[in-house]
Each structure stands twice: as structure tokens, then as C-alpha cells.
């Protein structure tokens, strides 16, 4: 029988398998972004023109609006995770690090919401 206390046994072992969560979500979003980003790029390049009417009817299509929403959410999430890692690695001042991490998280959340809202507004109501 060990005399080590239960606390002593678990100290330093880390949390129960959640340590890889950041890594895993970054990979999942990366995997999803491969087809989504390629689709977006090809669709944009294939558009006949970039005028208002063409774009509104493109964004408002059922498939486009859905895929665009997926893209905006996934890209914001992936970008948020990526920027987080960069800030953690290169900003050394603790206060500045925390501030920039919070700020980056907020900015990415706002971007995601704004993007989805814009897509839905175009899809559901004519902004003309």
C-alpha cells in the first residue's frame, strides 16, 4: 500500500483528457476548412461579376448561404485558435498576454456573429 495521498498521486498529471481539446478542435476545423475554403475560393473566382445584384443573389442561395455560414463559423473558430497559440508563444508580458487573448477571443466571436448575421440578412430579406 502506498503512503502517497490521493492528491499527491494526481498532482501534475493534468486534467482528465481535456488537454488535447485545443489541438483536436484545431485539427477538426482545419479538416473542415479544406473543402469549405476551396469551395469559397472557386465560387468567388467563378462569379461572372462582383456587382451588388450578382452577389446578393449568390449569397442568398440556399446552398451558398448554408456553406458560407459553415465557413464563417469554422474559419472564425480556427483563426481564433491559431491566433491564440501565436499570442501565447510570442507575447511574454503576462498582463499583455491575457489582455490580447481576451481581445482576440472577443473579436473572433464578434466576427463570427456579424458574418452569420450578414449572410442570414441577405438570404432572408432583400436588402435592396
Amino acid at each position: 500500500m502506498s503512503l502517497q495521498s490521493p492528491l499527491g498521486k494526481v498532482r501534475g498529471l493534468g486534467t482528465a483528457g481535456t488537454g488535447v481539446h485545443h489541438w483536436w478542435v484545431q485539427r477538426l476545423t482545419a479538416l473542415a476548412l479544406v473543402p469549405l475554403a476551396v469551395w469559397l475560393l472557386v465560387s468567388l473566382l467563378a462569379l461572372p461579376a462582383l456587382d451588388f445584384v450578382t452577389l446578393v443573389s449568390w449569397v442568398g442561395g440556399t446552398w451558398t448561404a448554408s456553406l458560407l455560414t459553415l465557413f464563417v463559423l469554422t474559419a472564425s473558430w480556427h483563426s481564433s485558435l491559431g491566433v491564440q497559440v501565436i499570442l501565447e508563444d510570442y507575447v511574454h508580458d503576462q498582463g499583455l498576454k491575457t489582455t490580447s487573448l481576451v481581445l482576440s477571443g472577443f473579436v473572433h466571436a464578434v466576427l463570427a456573429v456579424l458574418g452569420v448575421f450578414a449572410i442570414l440578412r441577405i438570404a432572408f430579406g432583400s436588402p435592396l
Binding site: 482545419a30 479544406v34 464563417v72 483563426s79 466576427l111 450578414a118 436588402p127 435592396l128
Partner: protein, 131 residues
């Protein structure tokens, strides 16, 4: 409190010139595209706000600086896509040998250049035709 063990940090790895450069470039490319996302969302919002807001945004987004930025985004996208796929393959445990990873580093650079050129050519041709 005892210092807790960290996940393997970059100081643990012996970075070769290749892995150092490709890793740094992948992060830089990611950052460029984060900025690209910002512009993309701005573009979507202006589109949602109507004709006038969009024509205002269009002027801004057609400036010389903006065009330079699109070139950067296309280059970043091409590189990040190729390098990202390399990372996803690494995550399955394949291609981690030194010789393999050096070869794939070159492969990534070549694929990225080809992809960027293809996108650039397509974009140029599309703008020529459609305006």
C-alpha cells in the same frame, strides 16, 4: 506549488532549418488570413447593408493597397492549405522521418507556388472578362 508539466513545447524539438521555416511561415500565413477573414466579414456586412454601403465598400476594396492584400491572401491561402494538409498527414503518424519531412517541405512550397499562380491567373482572367 510545484511547476506542472507542460505539453511538449517547441524548445523540446530539435528544429531543422526546414521545420523552423515551414512552421513559422504557416503561422504567418495563418495570420494574414485572419486579417483576410476580417476583410471578408466587412465585405459581407456591407453587402447585407444594401447598395450604397456596398458601393462604398467596393471603392475601398478596389484600392491599390487592397489589391496588394489580395495577392498576399492568395499566397497565404495556397501555402497554408498545402502546409496544413502536410500537418494533417503528420497527425496520422506518417511522413515524420527527417528525409520525408524535408521532401514534403519542398513539396509544400512547390504546391503552394503552383496553386497561387493558378488562382492569380484565374482571378486576372476573370477580371479581364467580367470587369
Amino acid at each position: 506549488m510545484r511547476t506542472r508539466p507542460l505539453s511538449p513545447h517547441w524548445t523540446i524539438y530539435r528544429m531543422s532549418r526546414y521545420s523552423m521555416l515551414t512552421s513559422f511561415a504557416n503561422r504567418a500565413a495563418g495570420l494574414v488570413m485572419s486579417a483576410g477573414l476580417l476583410v471578408f466579414i466587412y465585405w459581407l456586412i456591407s453587402l447585407a447593408r444594401g447598395v450604397r454601403a456596398y458601393s462604398h465598400a467596393q471603392q475601398l476594396l478596389a484600392s491599390g493597397v487592397a489589391k496588394l492584400f489580395y495577392v498576399a491572401v492568395i499566397a497565404a491561402f495556397s501555402y497554408h492549405l498545402a502546409a496544413g494538409i502536410r500537418h494533417l498527414i503528420w497527425d496520422t503518424g506518417r511522413g515524420l522521418e527527417k528525409a520525408q519531412s524535408q521532401r514534403s517541405a519542398w513539396l509544400v512550397v512547390i504546391a503552394a507556388i503552383l496553386l497561387a499562380l493558378l488562382c492569380g491567373w484565374w482571378a486576372f482572367r476573370a477580371r479581364e472578362a467580367g470587369g
